[in-house]
Amino acid sequence: MVSLAVRNLSCTIRNCRILSEISFDARAPALVGLVGPNGSGKTTLIRCIDGILWSEGSVSLDGEEMSALPRMEVARRVAYVPQGIRDSSASLVFDTVLMGRRPHLSWSIRKTDEEEVIRALELLGVDDLAFRQLRTLSGGERQRVMIARALTQGSPLLLLDEPTSALDLRNAMEVMGLIRRLAVDEGRLAIMAIHDLNLAARYCTEIIVLCEGSIVARGPPADVFTPDVIGRVYGVDAVIEQRGKIPYIFPLSPRKRA
């Protein structure tokens, strides 16, 4: 089972400090939710973990420093689903998902690569869309295709940037259920940035709360989502109601800005 160690990770973009001294460990199987207000550094953290953005500090996977690995080797270990999908893409769904095999492909496509694609499409329930153009799909269908592409990379670490942001309630719940299954039931480590606190509370096994580029709380959803944390981080008064092991957050009113 893969384990991730992030140590003293800091990131500065155009003289603006986005992340400061972030440190945490995570081990599969787990679905870690990164939550926090806009501009708190969720997307930046995900991009730094994948090495797309340069950062100070260290990110290691199973004890191996990621920055020392060639880009193609990183791609075999980490798959990333970015926020916002190009909705104008004329690519076929099959070809889009097949691109996930890029880190394993030579020029030609092997039968095993095609089988991986078919398996991922079936798992995500989009196999009947295989020969449709990406731009003809709904938001929920496109999101499933992107997750299928990440799956075909065969990487033990999945990074997802707000995978439910453009989805309606039903699609959002289905996609979250799917990601949880891929992580918790199939032994992967998934880290996702997410805005919807109730979805995060329901599906994530662990929550990391970011505020102004630093970690301010971390732990199981029931421990992290408290009226105090919600008030401090979001500036919102809220009531938390526990149903089973799942906390439900009811926002009441925004506090006056200082």
């Binding site: 075999r76 798959a79 990333y80 970015p82 893409s89 690519s91 070809d95």
Partner: protein, 326 residues
């Protein structure tokens, strides 16, 4: 497609103002290839081998190359308007040629004054686009904005040179900017053919990386492609192909923009198939346009840049409308 190009080339080589029959033309072609088995008159040999054949091959090589350059630029910049023309590379070549024609100043003297200037300015434009994009962070948008800004700058310089030049110089500059295959010869065909062939093989070899870059920088990076390095290499190759063609032919702007679009509508977006198919469409368009340009008002030869638009635009619009209707 290859068969259509071969057939069209077979027809194109028989076209021209000289009074040669089809049999005489093919006898001359065969006599050049197999001098022991065939013979032809000196006139036929001169017209076919010194005037027509290299022009036909030039049309195929230049059309293929411009389409490949356009395909690469549209792919990595994820913009359907990207082409050697809209990115300022063709405008820069025109400026270089205009400086040579009007001011007589150039990086290489002698008979290569105009060609050398056009080539160097085209590469200079690519380097400036790259430099400005690097300052701004090397995104696709930065490259396109830098290219458009340069296109206007170089066009303004060319206009200024036309304004201050004599009427003969003005005529020469305008003729150069129309684009023509009339300046072709065997060494030029060899140079363009060699550059286009080597570049195309390399680009097809890296077709997966082009596919990934077309999906976005983050996606490409997460799939293991070093984005900045790859974009630099691809832009450099596309610019080199463009520069090496338009320095000999003048501005032929339409092929690089439309051939990739036409091809994408038929074969899809996978660069393993898109690149060679787009090249073939480009070759077919330029060869067809040049054949029409030579015959429509014969013995007057129209500038091929005008004919490519006359031939390609209706075809493109028809495909576009059919695609929207489907």
């Amino acid at each position: 497609m290859v068969l259509v190009i071969v057939l069209l080339a077979g027809v194109a080589v028989t076209l021209g103002s000289a009074d040669l029959s089809v049999v005489e033309v093919y006898r001359a072609v065969c006599a050049g290839l197999f001098p022991d088995q065939f013979s032809a008159s000196d006139t036929a040999m001169t017209i076919v081998w010194d005037y027509r054949l290299h022009r036909v091959l030039m049309a195929i090589a230049a059309g293929f190359g411009l389409a490949i350059a356009g395909t690469v630029m549209q792919g990595i910049l994820r913009n359907p308007l990207a082409s050697p023309f809209t990115l300022g590379i063709a405008s820069a070549a025109s400026t270089g040629a205009s400086i040579a024609i009007v001011l007589g100043v150039g990086v290489i003297g002698g008979e290569f004054l105009v060609v050398g200037n056009a080539f160097v300015f085209a590469l200079l434009a690519a380097a400036l686009i790259y430099g400005m994009a690097r300052v701004r962070g090397m995104g696709a948008e930065s490259m396109i904005l830098a290219g458009i800004a340069l296109m206007y700058l170089f066009s303004a310089v060319t206009s200024l040179l036309q304004y201050v030049g004599s009427s003969e110089q003005l005529q020469e500059v305008v003729f150069w900017t129309f684009g023509s295959l009339g300046r072709s010869d065997w060494p030029k065909v060899g140079i363009i053919g060699g550059i286009v062939a080597v570049s195309t093989l390399y680009l097809i070899y890296r077709a997966w990386d082009l596919n990934a870059l077309a999906e976005g920088d983050d996606v490409a990076e997460s799939l293991g492609i070093p984005v900045k390095r790859s974009m630099t290499i691809f832009m450099l190759i596309a610019s080199l192909i463009t520069a090496s063609i338009i320095c000999f032919t003048g501005t032929i702007g339409f092929i690089g923009l439309v051939a990739p679009h036409i091809t994408r509508m038929v074969v899809g977006t996978d660069h393993r198939f898109l690149l060679p198919a787009s090249g073939l469409v480009g070759a077919l368009l330029l060869l067809g346009a040049d054949s029409l340009a030579r015959t429509l008002l014969a013995p007057t030869i129209l500038p091929v840049g005008i004919m490519t638009a006359f031939l390609g635009v209706p075809f493109f619009i028809a495909l576009f409308l059919r695609g929207r209707g489907a």
